[in-house]
Symmetry: C2
Subunit: 146 residues, 2 copies
């Protein structure tokens, strides 16, 4: 109703994400992997050997973002970077055995998060939330997208 209430959505979203990241980091402790890292693992689990740019687009990361992510995950021996045989500029990403194991671990770790994320809300309500979050990508386009 009042514009004041809607104002708060910006802050609510910011805070909610910070909470989630912090909570996941605390759970994670010395094992496993961040949410974004898990995202890349899941992508590679479905389509091993994607281009960095493709992965970045799927994760909504710009070039520096995906580049850094790949650096860190390569250093952690979760993925490997190999030159594309057909394009000297491009690199393709591949899971390492450790990365493949981390997928299973991450999926397990997400079970608790999922439970908390949906706790106290009906399926219909979660659908609304998911739709709202999904369409953020359309409603807040990047650069010259539209």
């Amino acid at each position: 109703m009042s514009p004041r209430r809607e104002h708060r959505l910006v802050f609510l979203l910011t805070v909610a994400q910070r909470r989630l990241q912090r909570w996941m980091a605390a759970q994670r402790q010395n094992s496993s992997v961040t949410a974004t890292q898990a995202g890349l693992l899941f992508i590679l689990g479905q389509r091993d050997g994607v281009l960095m740019g493709e992965a970045g687009a799927a994760l909504d990361l710009g070039p520096p973002g995906i580049s850094g992510l790949v650096d860190r995950m390569t250093a952690a021996n979760l993925i490997k970077r190999r030159a594309d045989p057909d394009d000297g500029r491009a690199w393709r990403l591949w899971l390492t055995p450790a990365g493949r194991e981390a997928i299973a671990q991450s999926k397990a770790g997400l079970v608790e998060v999922n439970a908390r994320l949906t706790d106290g809300f009906t399926d219909a309500e979660i659908d609304v939330v998911a739709r709202w979050l999904t369409t953020m990508q359309t409603r807040f386009p990047r650069g010259e997208d539209e």
Copy 2:
């Protein structure tokens, strides 16, 4: 339904927040202030002279977070830090005239963001979203809160 769909909430939330931040930064260009900075301005607009810790709690920032935020906003001449007369450890935060002006600007800037955040959703749906975001703070507690 399928656990797969709920898995995605983690990523949807992460991406949504990144989108929003990026979009706001792009709009912001060379003027105005980030969402979190606006949050602090609004707090001071209602209760000038809060303790740093209080502000941090309201913004869901830990000590290093609020400390850095205050540093940057002090450097930008939006707020002032003054020692608490009754407690030598504590600092209270006050708006500068520039900060007071920035509040109005920020509120204006949020109008467009609000419109986009709620665009295409009914009031009832936005209520669900707001409730979901709000209760994240309960469902993902910090440290030893509970």
